[in-house]
Amino acid sequence: MSEQKAILSGNEAIARGAWEAGVKLASAYPGTPSTEILENVKNYTDIYSEWAPNEKVALEVGVGSAIAGARTLVTMKHVGVNVAADPLFTLSYTGVKGGLVLVSADDPAMHSSQNEQDNRNYGRSAKIPVIEPSDSQECKDFVAIALDLSEKFDTPVFFRTTTRTSHSKSIVALGGRTEQQGDIELEKNMPKYTMLPSSARLRHPLVEERLLKLKEYAETSPLNRVEYNDTSMGFICNGISYQYVKEALPEVSVLKLGLSYPLPEKKIREFAARVDKLYIVEEGDPFFEDQIRALGIKVDHGKDMFPLTGEFSAAFVKKQVTGQGPDLRAVAEGLPGRPPAFCPGCSHRGIFTILKKLKVFVSGDIGCYTLGALPPISALHSCVCMGASISMGHGIDKVVAKSDDYSQKVVSVIGDSTFFHSGMTSLLNSIYNKSASVAMILDNRTTGMTGGQENPGSGRTLSGEEAIAADIPALVKAMGVKNVVKINPYDLNDIEEKLKAALENEEMTVVVVEAPCVLRYRISKPPLKVDAEKCTGCKRCLSVSCNALSLEVKDDKKFVVIDPNMCAGCGVCAQVCKFDAIGE
């Protein structure tokens, strides 16, 4: 059989690797840059795959599958591991039966994230091996190695990618699927899987022993590779930084660590001894550098040369090491930015138009509606993590002096997927502790920001099968919320009236906005037009921040035009117009 090859992103390659290595179950919560892994896994019908409502649940589903004996893949973005950390640290104690690989897709430079934490630290804290691929071929091949390791050493394996390995495409040689197991039969093994203090005390020493065995394995693992060339400079690197070093400095010697934890001490000592100058190139924290320095090995350059923040590149590595770079043209100055914005027709536009008008403090969350923080809307005042909007709103409400001034009142805004993720417990807390805050649940029946994935409210599973769609108003009422109000997000008067009533109420109000995502469900009405005679060019409509609108100047007269190819006919701009200039 001739070797088949394809160009795959790292995420596509991980999905392929899981299929080839006989994975039976995969679970995830979407999050950039990890989302496409499960979106591709779903196409391999030999693997049962599902979206979980959050990363903790995804990992727990995976733990069940792995201790039952099936090879298992669980994927999430870096901050998702914070949510899944609880099961992760104890899974380290129980170990697995079928191999379990947890993919953490980190996002240095924060292309689409709220922080740039370096999740290799999790491997060290949870005492489990960390594997880092540097291109798509490795993404695929290392999944199989990771599953073997997981079973051999009875440990979950942490598989860390970064945005550049997740989203860049390179050529991959494909293989077939190897079924590792027959039918899964459930067995009981209480001392191994029931982590009462008495049994956990027996497991912890085994974890420490396992780590020692993994250190030995690291010395001979095919995941770690030395490439000796000119030995005047030696570079220790991982993941994508390997590609940058090879591109920038093809003549140097390299120790590429595909197994980032635990480190191969002897191999590093030997490499350090053979090269004249030792460099460590790792994005994020000085994870290698601190450990290598602690071994007493002299490191010539690490974080002094390659910073803690942002991403590197080949040119950056070259510049830092040699001081050389290409002749650079000046970056064009004074250009208007092109940030992402609410889509034309988006149901969030009217909501934020009114929130801005009311001048309330908007406690935000993670989703498309976070774009409400960008100008010209600029009406979202905090955003920390998934599910935090309602709990933070409650905290604010409890300490801020009661006032009729709306600027001293808080409205929490959260989407459906984020509400299912971890907003439900926040709301339960608010209602239990007698909050007087207002929470808005913007239910657009999809996980929008990551590209429109299914969720427990969308009525479909990952594989597209029909499913029960959670009823948000019923859920909220069942928690004990008495004031549940529905609004039409395309009717600005309705939004304003009901929000004002909610803000005046001394009891908590939950406002549910049911309006499907226009992008995901391709919803549009006939485009609107501007009557150039009536338009005064006052730009009031432009404040709703819709890309379908623009200001034109003809014969010294300013007026707004609407691009009929973009307009979804939602009517929000028409409602803010004071001159009745916008209509069908």
């Binding site: 090859k5 160009i7 950039t32 840059p33 989302t35 496409e36 292309h111 689409s112 291109d135 945005t163 550049r164 989203h167 860049s168 495409k169 390179s170 050529i171 994508i240 590609q243 940058y244 090879k246 591109e247 590149s313 080949a314 040119a315 950056f316 770079g325 290409p326 002749d327 650079l328 043209r329 000046a330 970056v331 064009a332 004074g334 250009l335 208007p336 930015g337 092109r338 940030p339 992402p340 914005a341 609410f342 889509c343 774009l371 960008l374 100008p375 010209p376 920001m449 990551t450 730009k539 432009l542 404040s543 709703v544 921040s545 819709c546 890309n547 379908a548 609108l549 623009s550 200001l551």
Partner: protein
Amino acid sequence: METTNILLAGVGGQGVLLASQIFTSVAIEADLDVKQSEVHGMSQRGGSVTSHVRFGQKVYSPTIDPGEADFLIGFERLETLRNLHCLKKGGIVIYNKMRINPSTVASGVAEYPDDVETRIAACGEKVYAIDGLGLAVKAGNARSANVVMVGAVSSFLPLPESLWETKIREVLPAKLVDLNLKAFHLGREAVKK
């Protein structure tokens, strides 16, 4: 073959990624190593999009650094100017003259500069300004402007015309193949004059 760096720059929804896919599949078919990189997520919703395509005997980094693009393919004029510093000395700019207002302009926060094209022309390199939208409409669909741009670049690359045609047939849905082949050839001709 030395590594060729093609930087594609446009706006979310313009088909930058599909164009990238045509380049990468042509490169694979020509037995070259190839890498392509873009960032998903916030780049949707009308934001700027860039895609890096690199092919040659052996490619390590998936990204193109400033000053190293052999070709800057602009799908919109402002995005072309925004990425002009990525072009290397002696590189070629091919761009679609069309204008798409960013949200900052649509909302009145900023103005769309009227000297974008003169600033691009002043870069001192070979610049080809194409009416990508017009040619796409001529081919049968405004959305095929991305393939017009692919056609334009193809005439500068030492890869046979038939290879491009084969890959366009593979990458695009069957019912759109004919009009996209037309778009490809219109783009290819547009830079020959």
